[in-house]
Amino acid sequence: MERTISFRLNGKLTSLKVDDQRMLLWVLRSDLGMTGTKFGCGEALCGACTVIVNNQAVRSCVTPAGAVEGKQVLTIEGIGQNGLHAVQQAFLSHHAFQCGYCTPGMIVSAYALLLKTPRPTREQIVKHMEDNLCRCGAHGRIIEAIQEAAVAKKGGAL
């Protein structure tokens, strides 16, 4: 159904008229022109499209736009908007990416993990990140980057 949906996107109140059954990924990328969130599989199998809705990592390719009405949505563009976040800094210093296509989803997923679990164990990181796919094989560096970001934040607020 076409209706006006309002939510906070990276802190800013956003309203747009949209078919509420369309997936958030396409609304972000096309209607709102925010292309940092990537399409990878369309079926919640790869994690490239991960965004945070009310502090939970979700796959935007299977999240209807109507489901974020009145909620807080955070994308990769929001994570870096006040200077590089510790997670981004750690990805940068560990070279925890190659082609970079899965990277926004990885960073957003890692950010969501640290929201819930500020000092995750290696096992918790692996479990949380398991369904984010990376074809270039940066997995070891991504784990190290998340560990370093957690230390940099000293378990404190993100």
Partner: protein
């Protein structure tokens, strides 16, 4: 990154300098474009016709290096900036690298075959050295000091004996246009390296961690339409009819039919997809064909005549010597997909009779030719831009999606974006071909005396073993590079990271272990006993030492294995430790140690990234990745049917290099993957005494091998 100096289009020499402005230019060739594409030389864009790469030092002091290579994640931008900074004595940060744009960059061949490092890097170094020499001469005149007395640091030339007498590169080139073609100026000796051999931050890092990196499906223009294209259900299926009336009724949808293509366009990509789903199409199914089980017999039957690849000695004599010590085995590997995270994407914009296509491709100039021929346009009317590509691995050598976007943009009269969905990506992938490899080999007194091998479907690279074998014959029929009869492969095949060599290294190194077992010898001892290739011996010994290899006959129950190989003149060896679950057949890889000889390592962390990536990608191909198909239909449609290696698979990975700073730099993106199949097969055999003869070694296949005993 500062603005590139040139806008677009084909430029004559005079125009080139008019636009490029002041500065010092060094023009050079990087090799492969000359050899591979002589026909294109006269139509090369962006400047004088007799070069295919260049560097420019501008009056702002910034250095720009232009190359038609693309950044797939392999770090080409970082590597080129490093070698230029080294030879020019400027800071790494003052260098801009512009890649993958046929409107700006010269044609230096596609980004594949591990060619960038061995072929482009040496010439970029020499160009840097030449530019530095020219600037020193200019400085000598300006400062009135002999060249020998001058020193350079960070783009500033001075005479240490005359404090204050300095001049910058920027000052020297200001208002001038200095043009040089590459001469044979010596490059720096390894002892003087300050940037080569270091691992600076990647040039592409900041854009990639902030989501600002623009891939080809991220381009947005006013009026942009997204296209969803009707696809056949199977390769070889023919479209009989398509009723598009329901799709046409979707508000804002535009249906385009153009010589066999049926596309629905809409300003929202998801709406274009849902409108396409309303098209009622009928296809004529192709004749029955092979499936993923019958394929190996099929390719053996349909393969072209075998090519003789290498023969020595007398096979009958080898048979006689090896009597009692013969092992004959057929190894196979299935089709595997590239499965880059970014699907083939393109955005095309047709304006003033010229088309620009942002297309994710490893070979922008090849894509330009494809668009030229599809649209009937000359080279100066077609520009391809492929800066950041979300993974290639050989799968983005062709740019069919770019041609689709270009055709549709011209018809629609608006910019058009084509982003394949994951099913299209699997369907149109040019897979690593299925291969069947038969080896009959014999051993006597610890020496391999016979090797008779027929390779079908894989290709020709490195099919002849590098072991010392007096009596041998190797043939190869068909392969990834084309020349296969129609129908041998039910779909297109192509280059997949280290083409041919993944397949033949799996077969050869599995068989070497089988011969070692036959001879009653430890796999390392057996290899060294049959190998005089010094560089392979060296990586084998390095890997074994780092791993802590302890001699034992396999199967020892420890679950350890080794394998070695050569790709593109680089040598690699690895050791692995695995645990096999006898109940489920699941294989857990606990540790991989890899030794690499890729000559001079320009960027050790970059090389390590490639090797680590190869471990994960190679594990997937060795253990789970397999394309399922039947009668031309590709049944693998998404990642749920195509398991890639994930975080929980990550073994302990240790990479060691033979770092030889005086050696030529070799490509490192492919050699580290070649041993993964065999090293895991050999470790599984060592763990449980069952030899896996087919990749991938899925739990079902491991279970079946265990049951067989």
């Amino acid at each position: 990154m500062s603005k590139p100096p040139i806008d677009t289009g084909e430029l004559r020499r005079r125009d080139f300098f008019g636009i490029a402005g002041a500065g010092l230019f060094v023009f050079f060739r990087s090799g492969p474009a000359e050899a591979q594409e002589p026909a294109r030389l006269p139509t090369r864009q962006s400047g004088p016709a007799d070069f295919n790469a260049y560097l420019r030092i501008g009056a702002d002091g910034r250095v720009t290096c232009m190359s038609g290579k693309v950044e797939l994640g392999q770090g080409v931008m970082t590597e080129l900036a490093q070698v230029l900074a080294e030879e020019l004595d400027v800071s790494f940060d003052s260098i801009d690298v512009v890649v993958g744009d046929t409107g700006l960059c010269p044609n230096d061949g596609g980004t594949y075959g591990s060619m960038t490092t061995p072929l482009l890097v040496p010439n970029v170094r020499r160009a840097g050295a030449e530019a530095r020499a020219v600037l020193l001469e200019l400085a000598a005149g300006k400062l009135g000091v002999p060249v020998e007395r001058l020193r350079v640091g960070n783009g500033v030339i001075g005479d240490p004996g005359k404090p204050g007498a300095t001049v910058t590169y920027a000052q020297l080139v200001e208002g001038k246009r200095i043009e040089r073609h590459l001469a044979n100026i010596p490059v720096k000796a390894a002892a003087g390296f300050q940037v080569i051999g270091k691992s600076p931050h990647r040039k592409d890092g900041l854009e990639k961690v902030t989501g600002q990196a623009k891939y080809c499906g991220d381009m947005i223009f006013p009026g942009l339409l997204h296209a969803a294209i009707l696809r056949p259900p199977a390769h070889g299926a023919k479209l009989k009819s398509a009723d598009t009336s329901a799709a046409e009724k979707v508000a804002g949808a535009l249906v385009i039919r153009d010589s066999g293509m049926v596309a629905v366009l809409h300003e929202r990509p998801d709406v274009a997809r849902s409108a396409l789903a309303l098209v009622r199409a009928e296809f004529e199914n192709p004749p029955a064909g092979p499936d993923d089980v019958t394929i190996f017999e099929h390719i053996r039957k349909t393969a072209p005549a075998p090519r003789a690849m290498g023969a020595a000695g007398d096979l009958a004599e080898g048979e006689r010597l090896a009597a009692g010590g013969i092992v004959e085995t057929m190894y196979t590997n299935s089709y595997v997909a590239h499965a880059a995270m970014e699907t083939h994407s393109a955005t095309a914009r047709f304006e003033d009779g010229k088309i620009t296509v942002w297309a994710s491709t490893q070979a922008p100039f090849q894509a330009r030719s494809a668009v030229m021929s599809a649209l009937g346009l000359p080279a100066d009317k077609v520009r391809i831009v492929s800066r950041y590509v979300g993974g290639g691995f050989g799968g983005k050598t062709e740019a069919d999606q770019g041609v689709e976007a270009a055709r549709l943009a011209r018809i629609a009269g608006k910019p058009v974006q084509v982003v394949w969905n994951r099913q299209e990506e699997f369907f149109y992938d040019r897979f690593r071909p299925a291969a069947s490899m038969t080896i009959r080999a014999g051993v006597a007194n610890g020496k391999i005396v016979l090797w008779d091998s027929q390779i079908v479907g894989a290709g020709d690279r490195e099919v002849v073993p590098f072991y010392d074998i007096p009596h041998r014959r190797v043939t190869s029929a068909g392969g990834w590079m084309g020349g296969n009869p129609p129908g041998m492969n039910p779909f297109e095949v192509g280059a997949w990271r280290a083409p041919t060599v993944n397949s033949v290294t799996f077969a050869r190194e599995s068989h070497i272990d089988a011969l070692a077992a036959k001879a009653g010898m430890d796999p390392l001892e057996f290899r060294l006993n049959n190998l005089t290739h010094a560089r392979v011996r060296r990586v084998l010994e390095m890997a074994a030492k780092r791993f802590g290899w302890k001699a034992a006959r396999a199967p020892s129950g420890r679950g350890v294995g080794m394998a070695c190989g050569i790709y593109s003149n680089a040598c690699s060896a690895s050791c692995a430790e695995v645990a096999v679950n006898r109940g489920t057949g699941a294989v857990e890889v606990k540790r991989i140690v890899m030794a690499l000889d890729v000559g001079l390592v320009v960027n050790p962390d970059g090389m390590r990234q490639q090797a680590e990536g190869c471990v994960m990608m190679g594990m997937g191909a060795a253990l789970t990745e397999e394309v399922k198909f039947r009668n031309g239909e590709v049944l693998t449609r998404n990642f749920d049917g195509y398991p890639l290696a994930r975080f929980s698979w990550l073994p302990k990975v240790e990479i060691v290099f033979v770092d030889d700073p005086e050696a030529a730099a070799l490509g490192g993106g492919e050699p580290p993957i070649i041993t993964l199949g065999a090293v895991l097969a050999n470790a599984i055999y060592d763990a449980v005494g069952a030899r896996l003869l087919q990749l991938p070694m899925t739990p079902e296949r491991v279970g079946a091998a265990l049951a067989k005993g």
